[in-house]
Point group: none
Chain length 209, copies 4
DNA sequence: TATGAATGAGCCTTCATTCAT
DNA sequence: CATGAATGAAGGCTCATTCAT
């Protein structure tokens, strides 16, 4: 693809370190470039701005992340009333090792995107991800037996769910821990939301009678 | 008590706007003061620093928030094995209207504290709140029938729980919506965590036999 | 004479403390006045400027000091060729207790004038004192048997001499120590300068022959 | 070695002028840089701070000065009881031309270090020099026949001595004048201090008998 | 390709002084 | 007599960006 010179690699590595330590906004381009052993002029030969540098660092992983997070939603979306909950879980759980591998392989990039991107277009990455996915799911909610849950509340819960996955992903966990924790979190949210749905549905039926 | 002059009010109002839009760090004191119609010199007659200005804006609400959040934990802490879950909920739910009133009355301040305070001593307010409260709860986990849940996972879930409460608090909801959503979220987390605990306990018993 | 209100006294006392600690230039008028328990407005009712405040603090002592230093010069000026050095010393030594009393009584003011007055018209007080006194003495140098000493060198020595007296005066010495040290220093300079004069005179006579 | 660009030279020259006129603290970086025909941004490309600028101006000379002043002390330290004072002088006098050369070559730098460095790490340069040297000499005082002189008084005299050398160094004298004046001053202090010591010793012996 | 000199707007903070009340 | 609100200039310093070479 696009060739990356040794200079670029040095700058990218230095930038990763600085963005990780100070965040995008507070990191000093001056120091990034100096730490890489070059001058600002060299930098601007490759990138048009500080933000473009950040982009170069995380664009690929960002796309992978979006795809991978979409898969998780797809797992939830397959949820069907009447099926055994245990079976459904298995479909999601089956994806976990792959997800965990992705996380371990791109952890630093994920941290940049998810927790050090203030001031870039990745700010709010998580929020828009949730937004996209819940919008796609919303039509299915009734089919999933979650019809009684207020859509906005559902969105809040999905934000919490994704947010927790992000915390796990950006934590210091090994692959096995990631799998175990994500599985546990999945259980908590799935069971909890289902319980809420049933309670609301019961309440609505009572109201009608 | 402390008298606040018209000048101070103008500065405070302008500051609230700027902090809300850009966050503490990125907001420009220059522009805050100019927007209020004064010079920097005037500002420093009232406040010793930019941070003190932020403090003046949120100190009171911050104290109220800490107290109110503590009450929520107290509600969870009253959890007893063997009691009916529905009864326990009622204890927590009973506090909700009061909490919602507080939130509605101090919403902008809460937003400043919880989501625009980077660079001030309020940075990490939520995190330290979670930390304090989960530490106090940890010894009770076994008694609450949650012994099987990994403490670190429990902490992740509590972070998600508090985080969701914060999202509700800093949203645009009316009092009734706040109450309804917080109640629903409470149900989800309580039921979900309990289900996880039972599953883990079952797994541990199987291992033993 | 001029009446000094309680307000002025409070301000003066506070000013003395601040000037002593930070020097005239670095002391903050704001803090001086605040420490005194008043506002800047009150201050400017009494004094037209920061410098005038310094002046009010030290004017009286400054005049006393000039007079007293003049007396020391007068002691030297009485020096006559052919008289016994010991006798001459006695004349100077006789003045020492009175001088020491003055120093002990006005020590803080003296410190202000001599070592904390940068930025005021008292800056260079010592230098001008030396200048004045040596100019008056110069015509007498030959009569005193110091004709062989280069006038500029003599001025350097007088600067050192006065400077040492100043160090003694602004030190932490008790009256007796002041007297003892000033007497010793007087001996050193008198003997030393006389020795130099003789050597130079000898050299000049050799040149002539 | 280190290359100095024309820009740096312009800044350094301007800085020297401003520091000389106002002292380090009161000199305005703004004006220094503007006078040199540049902006503050350009300045900070070369120096990290105002103090570093001062340092760049005087560091080299400062080291030379410390060495050269140490040599003077070494001259005094060689003082041996019983030897002829005239011979000892010669040892010191022999160093004078070299010292005078150094002074003439670095006069402006010396002025910066010795009389315009308030607020930098060079503040108190003279004082610490005196302190170091007198401490090294103190043990030898008895051997030098100065046992009767109070050590604190001796320190005062040494301060005066070094201070006078500084005045000569920072004056407008030509090399020959520097040599002549320093030699004369040396004679005054040496003779004077010796006279004081004898008088004190005499007094002590009288007391004993 | 890479340098490095230079910009200019911006940052937060301090200060002596003025003046209407 | 004293307040306290307000000014305005100045302080040292940082930064992303431009551009001739």
């Amino acid at each position: 693809m696009a060739e990356v010179t040794a200079t670029q690699q040095a700058i990218l590595a230095s930038a990763r370190r600085h963005f990780m330590e100070h965040g995008f906004k507070s990191a000093s381009l001056n120091r990034i470039v100096a730490d890489a052993g070059f001058t600002k002029g060299a930098f601007y030969g490759y990138y048009a701005s500080k933000e473009e540098l950040f982009d170069a660092l995380v664009a690929q992983t960002s796309q992978g992340l979006a795809k991978v997070m979409g898969n998780i939603t797809a797992g939830w979306a397959g949820y069907q009333v009447g099926e055994q909950a245990e079976h459904l879980d298995e479909a999601f759980f089956a994806q976990l090792p792959e997800l965990a591998d992705f996380i371990v392989a791109h952890r630093d990039d994920l941290r940049l995107i998810l927790t050090h991107s203030e001031g870039t277009r990745y700010e709010g990455f998580l929020e828009s991800l949730v937004e996209n996915n819940t919008q796609r799911i919303e039509p299915m909610l009734a089919r999933m037996g979650l019809g009684g849950v207020d859509p906005d509340t559902y969105r809040l819960l999905m934000t919490a769910y994704y947010g927790t996955l992000v915390r796990i992903a950006t934590g210091d966990y090994a692959k096995d821990q990631i799998v175990a924790k994500m599985r546990d979190v999945q259980i908590v949210f799935q069971t909890g939301i289902l319980a809420l749905a049933q309670r609301r549905q019961g309440a609505q039926e009572q109201e009608r009678s």
